[in-house]
Amino acid sequence: MSDAVGHSPALIAGQRAAPRVSLRGIVVPLLLPLALALIWEGAVTGGFAEGRLMPAPSTILATLGELARSGELEVHVLATTSRVAVGFLLGSIAGVLVGAITGHFALSRRVLDPTLQALRAIPSIAWVPLFILWLGIFEASKIALIAVGVFFPVYLGVMGAIASVDRKLVEVGRIFRLNSLQLVSRILLPAVLPATVVSLRGGLGLGWMFVVAAEFMGAAEGLGYLLIDGQQTGRPDLIIAAIVVFALLGKASDALLATVARPFLRWQDSYQTN
């Protein structure tokens, strides 16, 4: 939050240092996937498992290395990541805005929410033919599909959080004669920030799911394209390599979002705060 009273040393004295990233924090999460990979590798090399349909991690790594050396991996990763980034940006902006409006204004909630809840129930894949007809086969339809996937969890999270902001805090704003815009920016949005971050993380996860559906709509590049390519050429190593990259990108983007949000949530009185 902003330093509302300037930078007087007495007022900012004692401010906490940013939390450090510990080695344990990096190593512990890797233990399970590494252990599974080792077991898998051992099972294939020891002849206990069939490696043709389920290639060993070493084969997957070799495939990834080959893709990286040829420059293909970069192209596919860049294509998918940029689609997710743009779709996430559009979907989350719309989700926060519409969620804030419907959460704050009861009338708009009564008018908009039933329709949006009905639209939310539509399976994502049902939008594909319509988006292709409306927006064509290229980037616009893919990004629209991702944005739709991101929009709903963000909208739902923000609307629910704003509608449940403590009335007593809003009254503090009223006592100090905040106008509607100030009330939203100085009370409602900060109050719903934790819930918004959770919604954004949920939306981002859905963004990575929807990009696969989007890239199944005839993409020439992207990790979704690699999945199709692997299926059509009978290369499970390529499919699993694409899946692994999806997992890594999904985890990295979620961690990035959580890291960016953390300084803004230090005030939370949660059991994990200290």
């Binding site: 007087s8 805090l169 004669r177």
Partner: protein, 254 residues
């Protein structure tokens, strides 16, 4: 001067809450309003604060009718209501965001000094005790420099020692700053400490039934007896159960 002129309030569901409440509080005076739970004390305070509109009558501060929250009127709630995402200093500065930064900083420094929390300026509200949080809430109301401060059972959630400390502190602050105070409480002891006069409300619908003057010239026991017996007479023995034993004793011995 604060004037409550024939104020009434009825909610659409639930019927009348206040009827013909009439009270004038002089500048620099402190009036405590006591009454049983549900007699409309807090509703009256919210009307004075501009948070509720009266069904009838008017509230004026220095001749100006209160129809919405007004800069001359500050309010301290039962709970501190600090904004958890702001530090102590930022919370105190919350209501004076429109002032120039230097003025804001000076006022916050002064307020922190006044409440004895200078070293806690950069702490989060979650790191404060209940008493410290309520001090911050007091400072937040004071930095906006209102002439009238409304207190809605502000110390009821605190332990006895902290409560007594804050009551003395609030009394001293209001006298030093010449504030007009209206305190809603169900604690007669608190009413006696903070009020120059104590207005006793009677329920169904809420109205001011009696006003007792509090003097510091040695007749406190008499005042206590009068206050306690009036309270029990007006609010009934069942409601008197909320009083502390000492107060009931005064009533019984009168």
């Amino acid at each position: 001067m604060l004037h409550i002129g024939h104020v009434s309030k009825a909610f659409a569901r639930g019927g009348p809450v206040l009827a013909d409440v009439d009270l004038t509080v002089e500048s620099g005076e402190s009036v405590a309003i006591v009454g049983a739970s549900g007699c409309g004390k807090s509703t009256l305070l919210r009307i004075i604060a501009g948070l509720e509109a009266p069904s009838g009558g008017t509230v004026t501060v220095a001749g100006e009718t209160i129809q919405a929250p007004h800069p001359a009127v500050g309010m301290i709630f039962q709970e501190p209501r600090l904004l958890p995402w702001l530090t102590v200093a930022e919370n105190i500065a919350f209501g004076i965001a429109a002032l120039p930064a230097s003025e804001r900083t000076a006022r916050v420094h002064e307020a922190l000094d006044l409440i004895g929390l200078v070293e806690h300026a950069s702490k989060w509200p979650r790191e404060l005790s209940g008493g410290q949080s309520q001090r911050v809430a007091i400072a937040r109301a004071l930095v906006a420099r209102p002439s009238v401060i409304l207190l809605d059972e502000p110390f009821s959630a605190l332990d006895a020692i902290t409560r007594a400390d804050l009551q003395r502190h609030m009394r001293a602050l209001s006298q030093r700053m010449g504030l007009t105070l209206v305190i809603v409480t169900h604690d007669l002891e608190e009413a006696l400490i903070l009020g120059d006069r104590v207005a006793i409300m009677q329920p169904n619908p809420g109205r001011i039934a009696k006003i007792v003057s509090v003097q510091d010239d040695g007749n406190t026991d008499a005042v206590r007896r009068e206050l306690a017996s009036s309270f029990i007479h007006l609010n009934g023995a069942r409601n008197a159960a909320i009083l502390e034993g000492a107060h009931i004793q005064y009533a019984h011995t009168s």
